[in-house]
């Protein structure tokens, strides 16, 4: 088994040394005439304005967090799922055990997904939902959207 892991590793190592190797070899053939126009960042022909590091939509982050939890779930279900076939073909109570445990696990996290769904956290445009809840709770007085929040 260590042998097989070594085989897989040799693929990854070969794939990882290819880019530097190719770039190194092509160094001897390609021209290199840098000047300031070439070295600026490309911004559709305009002179770049400001820093490239802009503030992001929080939703990227929210999606990443939800992903993290579901990733753990999928990873944890893999070893359990491998047992199901043998358990069913052998008969007996193990199949029920595997079925109930793994799908109980799945169901509990599915509740989380439904919660997110209802709260509108997996909708990309969420301002409207938040405003609605804020209006209902009285936190937000006016129905009018401020001008800086209108762009979505």
């Amino acid at each position: 088994m260590l042998q097989e892991l070594g085989n897989a590793l040799s693929f990854v190592i070969l794939a990882a040394i290819l880019p530097p190797l190719i770039l190194f070899i092509s160094k001897f053939f390609r021209p290199s005439y840098p000047h300031s126009g070439k070295l600026t960042t490309y911004e559709c022909g305009e002179t770049p304005k400001g820093s490239a590091y802009v503030q992001f939509n929080n939703h990227f982050y929210l999606v990443a967090i939800v992903f993290l939890v579901f990733d753990v779930e999928v990873a944890l279900l893999f070893p359990v799922m491998t047992l199901f076939r043998d358990a069913v073909l052998k008969g007996g109570p193990e199949a029920a055990q595997v079925f109930l445990l793994s799908f109980g696990f799945l169901f509990i996290l599915f509740v989380g997904l439904i919660y997110e769904w209802k709260k509108g956290d997996i909708d990309w445009i969420k301002v409207a939902t938040n405003r609605k809840t804020a209006l209902e709770s009285g936190e937000l007085k006016s129905r009018k959207i401020p001008a800086e929040q209108r762009t979505v």
Partner: protein, 172 residues
């Protein structure tokens, strides 16, 4: 020196160097990338120790999940990736003493302990046994993990949810 020894040695060297970078590099982004390499070296050691499933889990959850979330967090908070956190030398004195004491203590403990120090590592398939354990003696913990995951999910989302008064950004 067999190939596996070379592999373990290089993993250890890579892990130690990148862990040092994580601890000391002034740029937080470089520290995060060094963290990737230290995690990869630990995954390599898992592979060498016959825990192939755990190595893949380490790759999927740590490198594919946690590191991406850390990078997102670094990107989200402007001012921190460009800033060089140059701490004064004084800030290092007490932590350095503490950590040296811990390191010396750990290594002394390790050398003195009475466990078998060398053994042939058996490389048996580990996915099936892990699944057996998850539905056998660890069944309750398995369900408990689901509940912890659920509460963590809801908690994190409630905390991170963009508030309507704070929605800025360009929507992309």
């Amino acid at each position: 020196m067999a190939l596996v020894d070379l592999f373990v040695l290089s993993c250890i060297v890579l892990g130690a160097l990148s862990a040092a970078v994580v601890a000391f590099h002034p740029n937080i982004l470089y520290a995060a990338i060094a963290l990737v390499f230290s995690l990869l070296s630990v995954a390599g050691l898992y592979g060498a120790l016959g825990a192939d499933f755990l190595a893949a889990v380490q790759l999927i959850i740590y490198v594919g999940g946690i590191i991406v979330v850390i990078l997102f967090a670094i990107m989200m908070s402007e001012n921190i990736y460009r800033g060089r956190f140059v701490e004064g030398f004084r800030r290092f004195i007490v932590p350095f003493i503490i950590s040296m004491v811990v390191l010396v203590g750990l290594v002394r403990l390790m050398r003195r302990a009475g466990w078998p120090k060398t053994a042939e590592i058996m490389n048996l398939p580990s996915t099936g046994p892990i699944g057996q354990a998850l539905v056998g003696p660890y069944a309750l913990v398995f369900q408990y993990v689901a509940i912890v995951l659920l509460s963590g999910l809801i908690g994190a989302v409630v905390i991170a949810r963009p508030h309507y008064t704070e929605t800025k950004g360009d929507g992309t």
